[in-house]
């Protein structure tokens, strides 16, 4: 469609993969894993959600097979992880990381929903696949690092924001909103929802 919008999505995608891989590296650092461990955890965090979705949908090739450049980038990030993490924490503060991660959550969930709809999934299932795409990388990261997944423990809304955004995407589609605008708007919605609930410390009941 509009080349500037496709560019916008590509940039967000790069940010999202970067943010997820980074959260893998941080977790790996905490656990004192070596470079190989850091690479595996970062890779699983960045591409785990999409891979699980594609296995469930019987869909090939995987994103990371088509975009080897991202795998290579994570490879480089992992080798220079100590340097890289020091650099990142100087450039990005806690808040910047929260925003980047929320962009990833939004973009992955919304695009996952869209892919599931293309694969003829019923709409409720499509939203579940969307949330799966957004959150499963983090679940695998935490299982590998032998922790109860953060998403199951943390009562601050995360999957819930993604879930709402996936429904928004489906709703806007009914009004024939062009896909690329729809992705941008629904992703923005998830980002804002995540930041607002975080800011006001809104929590789910246990």
């Amino acid at each position: 469609m509009h080349p500037r919008l496709t560019l916008a999505i590509s940039i967000m995608e790069a940010f999202a993969i970067f943010a997820y891989a980074l959260s893998g590296l941080i977790e790996a650092r905490k656990r004192r894993l070596d470079a190989v461990g850091a690479f595996l955890v970062a890779l699983a965090t960045a591409f785990g959600g999409g891979t699980v979705r594609d296995v469930l949908l019987s869909r090939r090739p995987f994103y990371w097979v088509e975009h080897q450049e991202y795998v290579l980038a994570i490879f480089a990030m992992s080798i220079f992880a100590p340097l890289f993490l020091r650099l990142t924490t100087r450039l990005f503060d806690q808040r910047a990381l929260l925003v980047t991660d929320a962009i990833g959550l939004g973009l992955f969930s919304v695009s996952g929903t869209s892919i599931a709809l293309d694969a003829q999934m019923p709409i409720f299932t499509a939203t579940m696949m969307g949330v799966t795409t957004g959150v499963f990388g983090g679940i695998i990261r935490d299982v590998l690092c032998n922790e109860v997944p953060l998403i199951l423990r943390d009562s601050r809304p995360y999957a819930v924001c993604a879930f709402a955004g996936c429904w928004m995407y489906i709703g806007l589609e009914q009004f024939a909103v062009e896909p690329i605008y729809n992705v941008l708007m629904s992703t923005a919605f998830i980002l804002v929802a995540r930041l607002i609930t975080f800011k006001f410390d809104i929590r789910l009941p246990r």
Copy 2:
């Protein structure tokens, strides 16, 4: 076949899914997960075994894609989990839960075997797929909750009962027993085997 028998199987299926989802909710409660966590764990417990089997067999659509009503029911159970658990523990005592879970183990294992045979698996592999269907949901539940899976720890026969029942199903098939009777008889066998070994505290050697 006989409409009353198909009804019987549908009722058992509902019981089985309910029992597995419930064990997920109980585990989630113990870990103090929020509603989202409870939902994910309950869902994984109820449908994890069948999903792993279907991925191994390259079989689609998944049961939970075709029967969205069960996913929605678990969704509702999770939101009202505190209320729901209080109600359940008043209605069902420990023994009732054991019976319901054993019905689930039996039905899932036997139907898993039958599905694997339909997919041209050799018979030993088919029994393994059957046991996988019966026990993998619980394994995923425990991995998510960061515990050594109960089935690996508990020396009371569980997978063994399922395994025996799957072989019984295969044996009865040789005698041209009609599938629906065969499912009912083999499920009943697993249920009884589980209850007897439990009652007399029979344990596997370590």
Copy 3:
């Protein structure tokens, strides 16, 4: 090709499966699992890597479906695990186990790479699939036993040796080396690399 070479590969394969299953049994023993638990963990260790690779490649039938004899052998090993482990530790010392495991790592990684190339994967992805085949069984084993996977914790090169060997396989293929010689040479390379790095206690930086 040359019947003696195919025999050599079959023997190495048997050794490799045996070594991986054994490491599952040892882990199961440490965790005091019963016979069923030991069987499941041994099975997952031996065939987990290849199964994950085949799911990623959409490839069927699985190795363990076509070679039920290995599943039955692991079944027998698990039932007689206490006896079997005592026997093994008398016959094999720590060093013998290290060698057997390294043969498994080599053979699984190299053959995984070759299978991924046959499935039209790009070369970097093919090496990643190769390493996955070699190391994922151990990852599943440790996740089931509720530990941070050894491969993520241990700074002695393991995946790195496999990775180098996979690249060697791809390199030799460019020179039109016959596949069976190529597999043998690359596997030998991984074995030697693993033993040398172990001997000189070479470690990856954290």
